[in-house]
Assembly symmetry: C2
Homo-oligomer: 345 residues x 2
């Protein structure tokens, strides 16, 4: 806080509040001052808080932001760090009213997120297990992938298995995109029946003790034609190229560029409509982004996805995604499911 | 828009964007002007958009808010309605830069939410089915509720059944709170084993075609002692009292007060630590709130939860929650599971 030149920090983003304080509820504001931290939450969490966090807890009836503002007014803080990318215009207006005009608000974004990006050993142990849960659940449902099965049935089976293995829930709405639906990069599982001679994209993740995993695999129901094999190989080569450069000290955009250049040379550059990957942890998308223009240098201890894909309108999609822990000289992969093309049925 | 005195509206809250435009993706800004609507999203949704929405779609690389701002600058809008409770300080700063200083930003909150609160026949058909899915899934897992079963196993079974019945996912992290954990109003299912002679609170919901249901039931494993029966009856009477006054034209706080007064007379007022209910629809918590101080008049077509509860530290919790469609002279209940105390095993 001294380095940032602020007397107090107002933290409003829940994953950041959990990271700092351990509080797991769904409504809170955390104020950090030299004297300690105060957590403002509502009465639903009165018992929970005292178990979870060492911060001083204030149970608030009404607006949490207003309560935090009154507290800051009372403590006389003048320079207050604020998460400008998280605080809404309405909340800011409440703060202006409650704290008063003498306060200076210092945009103070991304600092907790940057700390969160580098995982410690305890976090990594959870993330390895979260990745293992996703992979083994996916492997277990492969025998069910046959013509006639519904995408939502496969999603239900995946999520059930992840839950039974200890996940607190899916990390995001599970994607099962069969046939032409696979061409939608975010094809949430639908009541569509999987057909013969179709690609099926699975994108799934488990939340374990608040940390996410994220796995994508694509299979073919039937014997894949030459065209599909060519696409699949290009995506696999793109991911391998990204793997080849991934290590501490490399810039984020270089990893993206490696995957992208492979797909461009294969004539599929325009089919790769998203970025190569993203940080993973308490949020399913967090820092760093592996995308064009991202100059950030990757650090050992960061966990990122590598997920190139191609999307062919009317035909389907192919994406291969793994979770990688960046190390000094490369990466440790948390997801271990085979990357080879699986032909079923 | 004329009535609101604005030339353009910037909509950033995703459930509002879906409600207005039909777009289901996870990143978008919608700008509405006299000439029509423009949806700004990213390349992941290039195919999806054109299928879903009649708005003009612009695929953006980079900041969606900046693109919307440049568009508004080009269209010459001067008075622009904005969702101040949704737009962050950073987004507002981007808008100030891109739209320029001549624009006037008019806080324009809650209007789409107010329209969303009153459901039409198509929405209600989905919500009835979403409620049915939650109820029948809960009824099906009752035989599994025995000493030794883990809370997370029960959550997994519930979510699996909801999925198999067509839900796209749980409406929130499923709550299974056994024994003393039930005293946490938000006791997410944990690896704890259910014990003999314990209360178990289940709070679950299904998302069906983007609409949520929300059901809470509490059972006793074993034969409930007199104290537990007394608590249970008080909560049931509190809910029945709320049911007794629920109809179009009643104010939201009156419904809350009815439930609260029953628990107060039973000496449990301080154990009822939350409000009586909330609106339900595209979000799990939406307008109206059935809480102290809420003067809003309820309207026919609103769907609300009624969910009084008591929480006894060290012993457990009891909550009974149903989903009610408000009508001119009362309510239609969407959830039909029995409200009587079930003793298992």
């Amino acid at each position: 806080m001294e380095r940032a030149g602020v007397d107090a920090l107002l933290v409003s983003h829940l994953p950041n509040i959990f990271y700092i304080s351990g509080f797991t509820g769904s409504a809170a504001i955390l104020v950090i001052e030299g004297a300690g931290a105060t957590l403002f939450t509502d009465s639903r969490y009165a018992i929970q808080d005292s178990e979870e966090t060492e911060a001083c807890v204030e149970i608030v009836r009404g607006s949490l932001v207003a309560a935090a503002g009154r507290h800051l007014a009372g403590s006389g803080a003048r320079r207050i760090g604020i998460e400008a990318a998280r605080v809404t215009m309405s909340q800011k207006s409440t703060l202006d009213k409650t704290v008063g005009r003498r306060a200076r608000w210092i945009p103070w974004d991304g600092k907790i997120e940057a700390a969160r990006a580098v995982k410690d050993a305890g976090e990594l142990a959870i993330m390895r297990e979260a990745a293992r849960i996703a992979c083994s659940s996916w492997e277990e449902i492969l025998p069910l992938v046959k013509p006639g099965v519904l995408e939502i049935e496969l999603a239900a089976e995946l999520e059930f298995r992840m839950r039974r293995k200890g996940a607190s829930g899916p990390a995001f709405d599970t994607i099962v995109g069969s046939g032409p639906r696979g061409a939608l990069p975010h094809a949430l599982a639908s009541p569509r029946a999987v057909g013969k001679n179709e690609l099926v994209v699975f994108d799934l993740g488990a939340i374990l003790r608040r940390y996410s995993s994220d796995l994508t695999r694509t299979v073919f129901v039937g014997r894949a034609p030459a065209e599909v094999r060519r696409w699949y190989k290009a995506v696999l080569r793109a991911q391998s190229a990204a793997r080849g450069v991934l290590r501490a000290g490399v810039s984020a955009h270089q990893v993206d560029a490696m995957a992208r250049s492979v797909l461009q040379r294969a004539g599929l550059g325009k089919r790769f409509v998203h970025s190569t990957g993203h940080g993973l942890g308490l949020e399913i998308h967090e820092m760093p982004r592996l995308a064009r223009g991202e100059k950030e240098l990757l650090q050992a201890g960061m966990v990122v996805t590598l997920e190139p894909g191609v999307y062919i309108e009317g035909k389907g999609g192919i994406r291969i995604e793994d979770d990688a822990l960046i190390t000094a000289d490369g990466a440790e992969y948390l997801t271990h499911a085979t990357r080879e093309l699986i032909e079923l049925g």
